[in-house]
Every structure is written in structure tokens, then in C-alpha cells.
Amino acid sequence: MDMGSFAQQFAQQLINGISLGSIYALIALGYTMIYGIIKLINFAHGDIYMLGAYMGFVATTMLGLSFVPALIFAMVAAGIAGIIIERVAYRPMRNAPRIAILITAIGVSFFLEYGMILIATPQPRTFPAVFEASVYNFYGLIVNSQQILILVISLVLMAGLTYIVNHTKVGKAMRAVSFDADAARLMGIDIDKIISMTFALGSSLAAAAGVLVGVYYNSIDPLMGMMPGLKAFIAAVLGGIGIIPGAMLGGVIMGIVEAMVSGFFSSTFRDAASFVILILILLYRPSGILGKNVKEKV
């Protein structure tokens, strides 16, 4: 491979990686926010993403909505699902040992996956083409309109989330609760409400990712959340679990690494690359790129 084609291939994979990475980032945000607030790795989060994709499918095919309303529909529906899941499955376990609630999360994950198989059958569905896909060619770099859409929507959502977390009362309360729940209660903050809000926000971001993937790959199925769920979890750990900018950074890095590995080696190594990242980060920097080393409180 000469230098010119190497550079072109690199740039092309960078584009692909960033768009894939923003999907991971959207899912990772929910992981990290939920971890931040109740110290739970919500293993059902990938399935919320799947649920979001199906909601988008329902909205476009059955309700005949166009893309943006369908996206909003899916986000709201998944947000409500997130609130219900927290209420029914996690809240009763709030004071239980952490391992118990983790196992509950795995149970919820299976429930969503096989519940969806029951309702929608295991067959993949074709996600309707909600808008015209066009392909742009910039000096040999191929960018399609879906990639641009993914990037734009992700950026808008991440900017919105950053605004909410840093500048609104609810967002500040979320940070307060995640830092010190007891102190937050002493300020009059109803932590149950704030936890519900966090689930709603995190779930709706995952749902947005689900719809975007549906649009991008045209295909959705009830088990589609497993792998991206794991990858986004790795992204959250990579960036520093509990840290919101970390999830965005981790997601984008994961996307780029996967794209590079698929482009320069083989796409069969793509998943392996992600798990190698997880192993390396756990070995050498378990607090993540943006994380600080904190001593566990005893």
C-alpha cells in the first residue's frame, strides 16, 4: 500500500469510525450516568437501545411518522421504559448487595430480549428508508448521508445532555446525587425522582442510537443490543465510568479503533479489538482515561 492510498484509507476509516463511535457514545452515556447515580452497571441498557430501534420501527411503519417525530417517539417511549424498569426492578434492590442488583440487571436484559422475540418474532425486520440516502464523494472519500445524520443527531443530543447536566436544576441535582446522595437528601432533593430522571435520559439516548442504527443498517432484531451494549460498556469504562465527557470520548475512540481494525486488518478482528481495549484498560488504567484514582470508601 503506498502512502497516498494509506492516507485515504485512514481518512475513510476515520469517518466511518467517528459515525460508529457516536453511536457507542450515545449508549455509553446512559451506562455512565446510571452508574454515576446508583453505581449499577445496567446490563439491560443495550436492550433499551434495541427497544428504541423497535419503537422507531413502529413509529415509522405503523404510525407513519417521518424521521424526526419517530426519533422523538422512540426516545420518549424508551425513557418511560427506563423509568418503569428502575421502579419495578432496581428500586426494590437499592439497599441489597451490589451483586444482587447486577444479576437483576442481567435478568431484565433477558426479559427485554426474549420478551421482544415473543412479541416481534426473532426475525430481523427491515427498517424503512426514512429519507433519501445519498452518497457524497469528496476527493475519493465516501461519506453517505446517514453518517452525516448520525453525527449531527449525536452531537445535538450530546450538547443537549451537557447543557442539562451543567446548567439546569435537575442536572445539577443529578451531579449532587451522584456525588453524595445523603448530602443531596439534606438539600431537599428527592433522590428517587432524580434517579428516575437519570434513567429516562440515559434510556432515551440509547433509543436514539437504536433508531440511528436502524436507519444506517436497515435491519433490526431483538438481540441487536447485546454486542453494542457490551461495546458501549467498554467505551464507558475506557472514558472513565461515571464521567459524562468520558463516555463520549470513549465511544468515539472505540468506534475509530474498530473501523481501523476492520479497514486495515479484517473485520473479523473488530470485536476482538474492543475486548483487548477492555482488558488493557482494566490492567493499566482501571479508572479510565478521564477518571481520577479514587480510593474505595470502606
Binding site: F179, A184, M187, G188, I189
Partner: protein, 234 residues
């Protein structure tokens, strides 16, 4: 104003507070002294709703608040400054104060109270945009107190405000507690530094292994032989 009657509080199987009764009258500074592990913090945490008593009543301004969740108790005009400050270290000084006013929506009132807090604690004004984790221990104590004042409490519960502070700072903090009290806020103060606590309080209770063993005016207790021996260093 506050009447705690016969409360029992457990940590799992440990009976931390036993049949405890205390009373705080409007406008007073009342202190609860005792050694480490006597149950002082548990008592405050139970009053502020972070813990539930197994039995007994806690009446605040004619309402029984025993077992009411903490965030609802704050709304009724009682606020606790927790032991070890517990400021939101990842947030700025200003954001911490805003959290103190979480339940309020009167913008003008909040702005005015924030000014008052900055007047009381000029150092907080200097560090207003600073992340509060970078403050010194004394400054964090001031912030924790300022944050609690932002909820406009009628009764302020203070848990070990002197903990880990240099003597000069302790004096300053206690002086401010007196000021807060003079401005009309009733104070219930938990302290290991019995000397300081008795010097500003009207009434005092001595707590030992979860039980009140002595009660009286601060003056009486400061001159009592038993208290001097056990808590005042001779």
C-alpha cells in the same frame, strides 16, 4: 420547637440510640456532647430523616417527623450540616449554594440570601467559581453551613463543625454559629469539643453509649465534676 421523645435507633443489630429524649426551644442553641460513638450523629441523622427511628416520636413545630424522608423534612424548615461537611466536591462553590436553595423558587430571595452567605463568609465569595473540592477544611465547613442556610432553616442541625479544624478557625466558626443564632435561627449542635460547645450553648445534653446521662443548662454542665473529668480535660 423540636421535641424528640423516647427514640430508639438501630444500625442493623446495633442499638445505637436508646430511649433518647431531647428538647430544643425556639431561639436557643442546644448542644449534644459526648465521645466518639456515643450516638450523637445517629441522633442528628434520625432527626433530619436520613435514618428511621424504630420507636418514639420527633415533633418539629407540632408535626411528627419521625420516619418522614429527609428531603421532605428540609421543606418543613429543618436543615442539617452533616459531619465531615459533605460538600459536593465536584461542583463549584456557587453551585453548592444553589443546591442549598434547591426547594426554593423565589429568585430574588435566593439572590439576597446568597449575598448574606457571602457576607458571613467572605472567603466563599472569593472562591465562588472554584470547585469546592479544592477548598480547605475550614472553607468547606463554611460552605456546608452556607449551603444549609440557603434553605432558610428555622432549625439548623450542626454535626461536629469543629472537626479537623485549627483552633483559630474553630473560634471563627463558633462565632458565626452565634451570629446565625442571633439572627433568629435555632441551633442544635453536636460536638466532641465540649468546651467550645458549652461556651455558646444555652442548654446541653451529655450522651454516652446511646443514652442521655446528663442534662442541664450549659453553665451547670460546664461546672459539673463528672463532665469536667470526662469531657473537659480535668
Amino acid at each position: 420547637m423540636l421535641k424528640v421523645e423516647h427514640i430508639d435507633v438501630f444500625y442493623g443489630a446495633i442499638h445505637a440510640v436508646k430511649d433518647l429524649s431531647i428538647e430544643v426551644a425556639q431561639g436557643e442553641i442546644v448542644t449534644l456532647i459526648g465521645s466518639n460513638g456515643a450516638g450523637k450523629s445517629t441522633t442528628l441523622r434520625t432527626i433530619s430523616g436520613l435514618m428511621k427511628p424504630k420507636s418514639g416520636t420527633i415533633v418539629f413545630e407540632d408535626k411528627n417527623i419521625a420516619g418522614v424522608p429527609a428531603h421532605k423534612i428540609v421543606a418543613s424548615g429543618l436543615c442539617q450540616v452533616p459531619e465531615g461537611r459533605h460538600v459536593f466536591a465536584n461542583m463549584t462553590v456557587l453551585e453548592n449554594l444553589e443546591m442549598g436553595a434547591y426547594l426554593r423558587s423565589d429568585k430574588d430571595g435566593i439572590a439576597k440570601d446568597m449575598e448574606d452567605v457571602f457576607q458571613k463568609f467572605p472567603r466563599l465569595l472569593e472562591r465562588k467559581e472554584q470547585v469546592s473540592g479544592t477548598l480547605s477544611g475550614g472553607e468547606q465547613q463554611m460552605l456546608a453551613m452556607g449551603r444549609a442556610l440557603m434553605s432558610r432553616p428555622r432549625l439548623l442541625l450542626l454535626d461536629e463543625p469543629s472537626m479537623g479544624l485549627a483552633p483559630l478557625l474553630v473560634k471563627e466558626i463558633f462565632h458565626i454559629i452565634q451570629e446565625i443564632n442571633a439572627a433568629g435561627t435555632t441551633v442544635l449542635l453536636v460536638e466532641q469539643n465540649a468546651n467550645m460547645a458549652l461556651s455558646i450553648a444555652a442548654k446541653a445534653y451529655v450522651l454516652e453509649t446511646g443514652k442521655i446521662v446528663l442534662a442541664g443548662t450549659a453553665q451547670e454542665l460546664a461546672s459539673s465534676e463528672a463532665v469536667r473529668k470526662a469531657y473537659l480535660g480535668g
